[in-house]
Amino acid sequence: MLELLQVSNLDSTIRLATPLLLACLAGLYSERSGVFDIGLEGKILIAAFAGAAVGVTMGNAWIALGAAILTSVAFALIHGVACITFRGNQIVSGVAINFLALGLAAVIGNAMFQMGGRSPQLPNEARLQGGDRALFSWMEDLGPVGEAVHNLFFDQSIFVYLAFAAVPFTWWVLFRTRFGMRLRAVGENPAAVDTAGISVTGLRYRAVICAGILCGLSGATLSMALNSGYINNMSAGRGFIALAALIFAKWRPVQAMMACLLFAFLEASESRLQGKEVLGFEIPVQLVQALPYILVVVLLAGFIGQARAPKAGGVPYVKER
């Protein structure tokens, strides 16, 4: 069991937690404002694709990153138009976004590269994988501890730092700024916000755009840092794990980070747990895979505390007569 705590496993945990955490925080902004978002998966996927596609064609990581974010925001806005402006069903819209992203990434990808949906390898200048920072390389010479510290904390991609910095930042925005306070208010009682003379629509659009930006970063992490290029359906359900983490964290940023780290740790440990026995029982690797989802169901069933979603979530705002 101790091998699960090896540096390499912890390192994988941090890497795998990054796209989850970014997506989870994306969901947090949107759902805190009262707009449910089961389209996280689709936004991550389309952003991963856009990052890879633009990275390959332009050969510039920053332009690629920008493209990933813009594409994800565009999809977020589709969700916004459907749910906020036209007061459509937020779940249906989220499902639509997931399919659109899955289909468009494959169709456009194939039209561009004729590689059955994959993109070619990203050139080095279009990757954002971090590592090999000369500034910190001296740490590697400080023995195993130094090496571990270096590998875990000073050798990561820019996305890792962004994601983990986004946690205190999101906390600060939510609880220390006017925007955050209004965001929380509109997710609980939009009528209170409306009668206080604040636009419900405007607030919700801004929240949805925040979600778009963060999903863009999450997708870019997948195709530009964890991999070098786009692979068909490479988000592989991460949007839903992020959603699970969000519920598990009861829509709070620090807890979201914990939940994402937990789920990422499970994912990282999967291969190491293969065939291992605990108390005489072999742990099925599938159980480890399913654990996040099982935990959420158990949580929702009220067996471990109550997960109370933002009260106005899922309901379009209509002025009442």
């Binding site: 220390r176 006017r178 208010a185 009682n189 209170a192 916000v193 009668t195 003379g197 604040i198 002025k319």
Partner: protein, 504 residues
């Protein structure tokens, strides 16, 4: 004398075909408490929503402090110094008191500085108006009375000079209401103007300087409170409509059919809605429950019908021999609910589908799992004929019938099933005059056929025209029982919680 705080001239507002407000004039003097009274649906809330920028008037002008203004949204109302305490509080429950007060007036993009200032200002306001609330308490944990204070503080924090309170005592206990009135007095002493919207006469008499009466979307009178009386206001509120004459002979009460004893209903918020209600209804009589709406009649009705919660107490039905019969909802007990749109009908369904709502499991509509469509259609046709529903089309959606005909569909369903006991809520709400007559006649016929009928209505005329005995409810309690010969004044006093005509 300074310019009036508010002056409305010729305000009209329609929602589709409904005239919610018609040509309304209103003058509210500065530094007074001005009551606006009227029955539910008289248009009070709409008028106040116009003043607070929630809706735009179709016609008419608004002047605040003598200057003509347009109020295009709540933001504009706030900047004109108008604050509103809504009937359903506009509070964010997981927020603290301070956060709720600050919302929309945070004083900058970052909360820290604004928060300190807001705290100082809040403490000042609390002291000045004796509105003690812990700024760091979570609003959702506070009792309603305190939540209301937060709403008032919110308005004052934004510099409200004119405070509108919409039915503020609906959710309060009498003690809390008294406290609220002391606060309002304090506000008046500080020169604020208060608009108090209510349908409770006692409140108007207790606290206001002036009072305006609304009825059916129109402003029918304005008085100095000192120069009017409960009777006059009650009359103005209800209107001197021609008393609906219903031909009826003497009642011939038989055995007790329905007995309610010591019934209490406490809702999920812990508020007692019905307190120790006991009553009997005999075969061949109509017992009317009078009361201003929201005084526990609805909860009592639902409890008796078996669809609302009963906290303690019992409801018993008796058969012809006077023996208790098992009490099952809708068995031997017809129930015409107060709100036909929300409860009595599925408006999206066809008339015939509505004709069996609640009776869908009866054998006459198919003995097995299948629904006998033919029987449903026949039943609906029979109902439509018996109650003269127009158009007599079972395949028309319920939503497409007029209010009166919708009500006939509901009544037919409950009456044609031949129950021993019929409980009827607001039988003629939103129903045209012709249909009212027909419905009343039908209820009398049923009485004469030996049915026991319990009638709840906020229309005092209706109660008086139909009932053989009248029970008056106030704040969940049965205040007393009078005969049909009782005057409107007697009943009105009981309705406003005054026993034995002591006050007024």
């Amino acid at each position: 004398m300074s310019a009036p705080a508010i002056e409305l001239k010729g305000i009209s507002k329609s929602f589709g075909a409904v005239h919610a407000n018609r040509d309304i004039d209103l003058t509210v003097e500065k530094g007074t408490i001005h009551g606006i009274i009227g029955e539910n649906g008289a248009g009070k809330s709409t008028l106040m929503s116009i003043l607070y920028g929630f809706y735009q008037a179709d016609k008419g002008t608004i002047a605040v402090d003598g200057a003509r203004v347009t109020i295009k949204d709540s933001d504009a109302a706030i900047s004109l110094g108008i604050g509103m305490v809504h009937q359903h509080f506009m509070l964010v429950e997981p927020f603290t008191v301070l956060e709720n007060v600050m919302l929309g007036a945070e004083g900058g993009a970052l909360l820290n500085r604004g928060r300190a200032e807001a705290r100082k200002e809040l403490e000042r306001l609390e002291k000045e108006y004796e509105l003690n609330v812990d700024p760091d308490a979570i609003v959702g944990d506070l009792p309603v009375g305190i939540q209301q204070r937060v709403e008032i503080l919110k308005a004052l924090y934004r510099g409200a000079e004119i405070l509108i309170l919409d039915e503020p005592t609906g959710v309060l206990t009498p003690d809390e209401a008294d406290h609220l009135f002391r606060i309002l007095g304090q506000l008046r002493a500080q020169g604020k103007t208060v608009l108090l919207i209510t349908h409770k006469l006692r409140e108007i008499m207790a606290i206001t300087d002036d009072v305006s009466v609304m009825r059916q979307g129109q402003m029918v009178a304005s008085r100095h409170t000192a120069e009017t009386s409960v009777e006059e206001l009650a009359e103005l509120m209800v209107g001197r409509r021609v008393l609906l004459r219903v031909e009826k002979g003497e009642a011939n009460p038989g055995k007790v059919k329905l007995e309610v004893s010591g019934l209490n209903v406490v809702d999920e918020l812990g508020v007692a809605r019905v307190k120790e209600a006991s009553l009997q209804v005999r075969a061949g009589e109509i017992v009317g429950i009078a009361g201003v709406s929201g005084n526990g009649q609805s909860e009592l009705l639902e409890a008796i019908a078996g669809i609302g919660p009963i906290t303690t107490g019992s409801v018993e039905l008796f058969d012809i021999a006077g023996e208790p019969t098992p009490w099952r909802p809708r068995h031997g007990l017809g129930h015409v609910p107060e709100d036909r749109h929300k409860m009595g009908l599925v408006t999206k369904f066809l008339a015939k589908e509505n004709a069996v709502l609640g009776y869908q499991r009866e054998d006459e509509f198919g003995s097995g799992v299948m629904m006998d469509k033919g029987a449903v259609l026949e039943t609906c046709k029979r109902h439509m004929e018996a109650f003269d529903v127009r158009p007599p089309d079972p395949n028309l959606k319920a939503a497409n019938f007029s209010g009166g005909n919708q009500q006939k569909i509901v009544l037919a369903r409950e009456i044609e099933n031949d129950p021993d006991v019929l409980i009827v809520g607001q039988p003629t709400r939103g129903v045209d005059v012709g249909a009212i007559e027909a419905i009343h006649r039908r209820l009398i016929e049923l009485r004469d056929a030996g049915k026991a009928i319990l009638l709840v209505s906020v229309e005092l005329d209706e109660i008086r025209a139909l009932s053989d005995r009248i029970i008056v409810m106030f704040a969940g309690e049965i205040m007393g029982e009078v005969g049909p010969e009782a005057t409107e004044r007697e009943i009105g006093l009981l309705m406003s919680g005054v026993r034995d005509g002591a006050a007024a």
